[in-house]
Symmetry: C2
Subunit: 597 residues, 2 copies
């Protein structure tokens, strides 16, 4: 597949050169799901050149098809460097690549004499290329050019901005169409466009990048999830706590954040500016763990009260370069659904197993039935990234591995995926489109309890150090709810839907009955809204569909007489006329069972 | 009363001088609820002097009674400055006070010659004093010395630390006893000691002063209040939103916080330290209003959708000097129960009236049936403290006044009590001890809408500026829950109690039945706990009383046989044996009605 896609990128370059022979070629590799080629479309004299846009893609595609139809062989040739320099004398990027060879070999450029280089020829087109390629252009399957984007030469902002054309290629037309449908679906589900369309959230320049303003409708979704999350945790013996969003630098020194997580912290608030007598500076919290530790340490603990399980929806802040920020999925401020179990050594295996069960249960509620499991380990080559002794780490990693193996859960190892204080089991949720989303993480930590001097009095009357398990089941409210917008295409299941039932009176005459229906629903904690506008019924239904409201209750004189509602379901389904109590029973069951309509 | 208390402070000083004649006298005024006198007890040579402690108070009191019994007249004398200097030649603080006179008069110290000063004599004791005093020591009522504390001379840290003795005095023994009982009750209810005793919260040096760690039990109380608060707000048409805890300096410039609230802000996070390309610095939010404004402004608004009512439990941070911090009642980080109504001019009167109703309703739920009303106005002499035009302020103040007067609500004016953007109606709750607590504030704001350029399209198709009402019904979770601890002496009503029922099996044999009772209660969302320790029943009951659990369910073989529980109520009341369903009905009604046991 990769070979074919790489060959297809040559086809793209050949087509562009036939159409605009002045174009300068950079590079054109295969990538995940496709390929690209980078071009410098400006003519050498610096005059106005061809700058490709999406509008040019059909023309280029047609030319590619024409070349492919010639059934040209990919001919590999080994030529001396001097000959290559002549061949690419009007292709400055290729010449630079040839010179780069010297750097790779660690020799002077002039020393490249005698060295041989690979080039590939297809018809009139020739490219400097290590290969391999398919034999003949007829071996290239169905292709499609996807988009045009800017890209710096060699990925560096210091270099010239080139024009990148992305494409993809599959062995068959069916496979290509399937993939194009997938892309279409991904685009339709983009939480940023749905978020705007449904008035769900915004990111505001005057507030700051990566900081989410949750609008009322999405706040309903979040609140429902938080209520469910709290209830589940209480049921399983967790105690909710509230902790501040800032802490003194000493706290972050003890935790190790200042030493190993500094680049992820927002800059300090320098208290000297306020008052010379203030001790230390404050940092916004990047994690809640040190606060939970301090609550644990606020009084002596006995082995009898362990495990102690704290949980908190803790808002944390981490600095990320503005380039990587992405809607709600990659942000700077987020609310973790955080929990810490503090327990004895003889307890943590059972606790971790319980957390695994909770995680699978909770993910399934949101339709994430498939979870890919990763064992996140430290990277032994980056010792400075971690706190604690090698032996402690070895033990923690071994324990997690054994737990997964005992339960026969298939997993992949993610070397370097561990947090600085311990290894983790990460469960990535697979969504409706087969995409993987980071969610649950369960971290085993022998280090922070030592650093913070946490203890409990054992049955032997002596002080012991407990073990700490950090976990989050959903990851963060921002990322998780962002994921859910894409998972559901904005059409939330009834229990989460911001408006659960839209009441549509067919005319003003039915408004009174509509109000009494709304009141009855609201009294049962159903989020019901009346569309009392002076519009045609069909257009009100259409608007409710656009709003993705799960139930539409059409109300006319007949319904008013019979204490009924005419029920339509999102997605243009009609349930016909129902008595109001029957509808109430239906929607309440949807909510209780957390199901889609 | 003030005259009598001031005279009593002379009695105190006279007694101290008789007991320790080397003592140096500072000043001794009457204060709210009593008086004090500041002494410098070290002998002039700097040798080891008498330093008063609480243990000395009875001896001093006895001497005071002895002097009072002499029925001495307070004799006022006017003497020249020169004579006063001689009279107080071994009293350096008095000499300094005489010199201070020159400063008051704006003349040189030597120019005081000929000026006359007041002194008061009682027996052998004489004090420099402007008066007035009671006629005779027999006119001083019942007194009590209360405590000893350190106090800087003239209140400045640069001066010497003196010893202050506090006392109080009432016309009759009955009034004194009543006040002393009140003080005893205040001390017993102190939320800091109850908080420690019941493991409710802590303030941690490594986290920072004024930042509250909510322990699990108090977090239950807070969560219940928050759930109730959210439900009430949703019912009244508010929409919950979530907003970040930080914002760029531009936001705070637009809002006016950087200009008029700078001293209340934590220092900025200087983004230059991270990346030169980051625009601006971040501030922790001291208020949530600008974020709600940005949500409002995220799309165009029509007159039809007004009023828009946003609410949020928003955690904010304000810098306060460490000296004024006090437990949960005066903190640096707190969660406001915040709301903003954005409405048309023809709507705000009704909206403010609705908020007043909600505030009274909600305060009453917590037993605050008496509310003292204040109209908080700007101080016209501190113009630099406020944003906006005089006319706008005049209008806003007039409107609030009219609303109170139309409803015939008695109120006091609090000049200078307004926030920088508008005047307010403040409701102060009066607690079980008659103390006043800051709670509800309702602010009318014509200024921020202008500063932020908020608009809506009116029925006339043109842009208009809306009005904003800021309000919080409880104030902040920290202060309000701190107040509640004192209001209830830690004995929370059933709906708030961290543990609602303690199940006490009389012996291990009844443990199985105890577990089944606990499960049945938990299934009905009752917070029930088993005390399964191997202790005597009486001591378990005592411990549950100490924990202030509202219900204790004693369980033995008889109860197990009859599916009953033996119910005890906090405060050593006995309800006898009840069938389990009857107890369930009882406790559920307590919860639903939010009542005390």
């Amino acid at each position: 597949m990769e070979t074919m896609r790489h060959s297809c990128s040559h086809l793209l370059a050949a087509a562009v050169m036939e159409l605009w022979p002045e174009t300068k070629l950079a590079i054109g590799p295969a990538i995940e799901n496709g390929f690209y080629y980078d071009f410098d479309p400006s003519p050498p004299a610096g005059g106005s050149g061809q700058v490709f846009s999406d509008a040019d893609l059909p023309k280029i595609e047609a030319k590619m098809a024409e070349i492919k139809a010639k059934n040209l062989t990919f001919i590999k040739k080994e030529i001396p460097v001097e000959e290559a320099r002549k061949l690419f004398s009007d292709q400055p990027y290729k010449l630079e690549l040839i010179d780069d060879l010297a750097k790779t070999e660690g020799v002077n450029v002039s020393n490249l004499q005698g060295v041989k280089l690979n080039v590939y020829e297809t018809g009139n087109f020739v490219d400097l290329c290590i290969g391999p390629h398919v034999e003949n252009t007829k071996d290239i399957g169905s292709f499609k050019l996807l988009s045009v984007a800017g890209a710096y030469w060699k990925g560096s902002e210091k270099n010239k901005m080139l024009t990148r054309i992305y494409g993809t290629c599959f062995p068959t037309k069916e496979e290509l169409d399937e993939y194009l449908n997938f892309l279409e679906e991904v685009k339709k589900r983009d939480h940023r466009s749905i978020g705007k369309e449904l008035d769900l959230f915004s990111i505001d320049d005057s507030v700051g990048p990566g900081l989410i303003l949750w609008h009322p409708k999405l706040s309903v979704v979040r609140e429902e999830i938080e209520l469910y999350w709290r209830k589940q945790h209480r049921k399983k013996g967790y105690q909710y706590v509230y902790t501040p969003h800032i802490g003194l630098d000493n706290l972050w020194k003890t935790s190790g954040h200042l030493q190993t997580f500094k680049e992820g912290l927002y800059p300090p608030m320098s208290m000297e500016l306020k008052n010379k007598e203030e001790a230390g500076n404050y940092y916004l919290k990047p994690m809640s763990c040190p606060f939970h530790v301090r609550i644990y340490k606020s009084r002596p603990r006995s082995y009898r009260e362990l495990p102690v399980r704290y949980c908190e929806l803790g808002s944390v802040y981490r600095y990320e370069g503005s380039g990587v920020l992405h809607g709600m999925l990659r942000v700077r401020g987020f609310t973790q659904d955080d929990a810490h179990i503090i327990c004895r050594e003889d307890q943590f295996e059972k606790e971790i197993n319980n957390v695994l069960n909770s995680a699978m249960e909770m993910n399934a509620v949101f339709g994430f039935n498939k979870l890919n499991v990763y064992l996140s380990l430290r990277n032994p080559e980056e010792k400075e990234k971690y706190v604690g002794e090698k032996e402690t780490w070895d033990k923690a990693e071994k324990v997690l591995k054994e737990i997964l193996e005992k339960r026969k859960i298939p997993y992949k190892e993610d070397i370097g995926g561990a947090k600085f204080y311990g290894p983790a089991i990460d469960l990535k949720a697979v969504d409706a489109l087969g995409r993987e989303w980071q969610g649950t993480t369960i971290q085993l930590d022998f280090n922070l309890p030592l650093r913070f001097g946490m203890t409990y009095i054992g049955q032997d009357g002596k002080e012991h150090t407990p073990v700490m398990i950090h976990h989050t089941l959903l990851g963060s409210m921002e990322r998780f709810v962002g994921t859910l917008i894409e998972q559901y295409s904005g059409a939330f299941p009834v229990w989460l839907a911001p408006v659960q039932a839209k009441i549509i009176p067919v005319s003003e005459k039915s408004l009174e009955y509509a109000k009494s229906v709304a009141e009855k629903l609201q009294n049962e904690d159903i989020r019901a809204e009346i569309d009392g506008r002076n519009e045609r019924m069909q257009s009100k239904i259409r608007d409710a569909e656009t709003e993705k409201v799960p139930y539409m209750l059409i109300i006319g004189p007949k319904e008013a007489e019979s204490d009924s509602v005419s029920v339509r379901v999102r997605g243009e389904k009609d349930l016909g006329v129902m008595k109001l109590p029957a509808f109430l029973a239906l929607i309440k069951e949807d909510i209780a069972k957390k199901r889609q309509v």
